[in-house]
Symmetry: C2
Subunit: 374 residues, 2 copies
């Protein structure tokens, strides 16, 4: 997929831009898309940027039968000075290859794909909203397109990238969400695919999520095992903050045990918190001692902490919302109330959010920010 | 999806028939396909039979991102007198609706879809191979086609049916297969989707199956839990036959505990064996007492029976091979040898196979056989 072989066909009928105020996540797409075909014998073909439009797929294409699909979610941010950047895109390229290996789809040169994605963003640069909290959501996808319905590594595949301008996750300021602690259905299990960003992790969650919504909760909090270990939320990783007897805050997130997606935001939160904890860096406005731990957490522990007043906060971390505070968790017929402060956030989520958004939008210089255009 | 609204557009360039001897499973497709669109507001649209050809799908179609797909596998058999029949197709229609509910895809009138499938088969009737052991494999598929990458019940879907002429699973007579007892990867887990015929159950098995193949085994035998319970093979359900101290044969299959696909062949085997056991009917050539049990079986039990000489046989049951005898199972670095007789089969698999194939091909009259054309 050599970027030097890129062929660009510009649209002759550019679409009108959707007003930023009426953007709905994942509904509007830019003028162009990137496609790169793969074939078992010849490998990756020439990349093409063409007008956004339908794909022609044989009805026997294996993605349609056996769910041979994986994807990534990343964002391009417009800085106040007009520059455009991506946030740690190398992490997405690496994870996409890890996902590909797990379901026997072809791997690729992550640096080359990133360069091609930058070209696509530059071409559709005017689609990146200028308003605060807005961005361009980028969706690289890799599908098996073998024209024969055998269950095996496909002999044909297609990598495509589409882009969607998106508004802020919380247009009216932070709004904490309610999660439904779910143990009757699962998202992942040991030996399964929970640690990979595969399509197969999503379809099975739609029906349980409908049930959660009917009960007044926004998302499922997937619990594992008879101990009801917290895992993740499907669209976000989870963090819990406890206050220890000596006043230290303990930031806890479940370990990457094979059932949890290794989120880019998760990794960034841990990295910032650890650097703060080690004194290498100061999280803005955070005082007191901080301990950072990757360890299993049970619902019992969350419940006990809530009752004893040592539960400080619980929040999700992901590309869509960056940080998403939780104010209650439905569990075994009752609601566990999670503290939130007046702005909807908490003592640790607030500085983490400020720092992450600052780094994403160029307000805080960081080598996590990768420039796409000056 | 009213059959009375069916619109048929016949191909103007029929393809040459593939010689039966060179058929490879799932590679050749007939001249026509059936498509039925669904839309949240208006429901199922008019069914259409059109020339077999590519589907046009938006790159944002949810099937390509979140694996919103399910399918069925069924076969049309040509009888010696030229009649064509399906085998228990009502079971497939029912299961397809069960699958749809599990991932929030639209359900449908199974009788109506069956009628439409019959029309498709009649139109492509000349594609059904005449040779013994051959058939027309029918693949109804239902995909989410919403043009927006949100994880939710899709507002658009497409049901399509394609047909593929197939040869016998064992062209040179029965050949027992070797299975790889797999516990390091899983196919299903409690609370998951193992009991539904969804695309998501297949992509994750491709890489483990590659590993099994590299070690000399044909398929993974998926084991569950620390007890290593036998579950199924991914393309087949499993049956084990033990000889009890009094000489009775015990036919055992794991129960439908939510992790196992409720196979049509599995149900048929159980039904025939139970009727034999109850004296309502005589399995051809089977003498002696038979006990039929749905109960959990561990690898330890299979291993012990192999060592003590009470393991009679182990076989898979599915639409593709009907009955597939197993002659060894790789387990914890060793091979458990499973008895097979000179023809590759065993005392129970042989009469079951004979009876099932007889009923499928019209040689043995049965209400399981549903005529498509006279």
């Amino acid at each position: 997929m050599s970027p030097s072989k890129l062929e660009i066909t510009r649209t002759i009928s550019p679409k009108p831009l959707t007003p930023s105020a009426s953007l709905v996540f994942g509904k509007t797409f830019t003028d162009h898309m990137l496609t790169i075909p793969w074939e078992m014998n010849s490998g990756w073909g020439s990349p093409r940027i063409t007008p956004y439009g339908p794909l022609s797929l044989e009805p026997s294409a294996t993605v349609l039968h056996y769910a041979q699909t994986l994807f990534e979610g990343m964002k391009a941010y417009r800085h106040d000075d007009g520059k455009v950047s991506l946030f740690r895109p190398d992490m997405n390229m690496k994870r996409m290859n890890t996902s590909a290996r797990r379901i026997a789809l072809p791997t690729f040169d992550g640096g080359a794909l990133l360069e091609l994605i930058k070209q696509l963003i530059r071409l559709d640069n005017h689609w990146i909203p200028k308003e605060p909290g807005h961005s361009l959501y980028i969706r690289p996808t890799l599908i098996g397109t073998q024209r024969a319905i055998g269950v095996n590594p496909p002999n044909e595949a297609l990598l495509f990238v589409i882009c969607s301008p998106v508004g802020p996750y919380y247009p009216d300021g932070f709004k904490p969400v309610a999660l439904y602690g779910t143990s009757e259905y699962i998202r992942a299990a040991p030996g399964g695919t929970g640690a990979y960003k595969l399509g197969v992790n999503y379809a099975p969650g739609v029906m349980p999520q409908k049930i959660a919504a009917e009960r007044g909760y926004v998302q499922n909090l997937w619990l594992h095992g008879p101990e009801h270990y917290l895992t993740e939320v499907g669209t976000m990783n989870l963090f819990v903050v406890f206050r220890l007897p000596d006043g230290t805050l303990e930031l806890v997130t479940p370990p990457l045990d094979g059932m949890i997606l290794p989120g880019v935001t998760r990794d960034s939160v841990l990295s910032l918190a650890r650097d703060h904890s080690a004194g290498k860096y100061q999280l803005p406005g955070l005082s007191g001692q901080l301990r950072v731990t990757e360890r299993p957490v049970t619902m019992r522990e969350v419940q006990d902490a809530s009752q004893s007043g040592t539960l400080v906060e619980l929040f999700g971390a992901g590309t869509a919302a960056v940080i998403s505070p939780v104010d209650r968790v439905g569990y075994q017929g009752q609601d566990i109330i999670i503290p939130t402060e007046a702005d909807g956030m908490g003592p640790l989520s607030r500085p983490l959010w400020t720092e992450l958004v600052g780094r994403q939008t160029g307000k805080i210089p960081s080598d996590w920010s990768v420039l796409v255009s000056e």
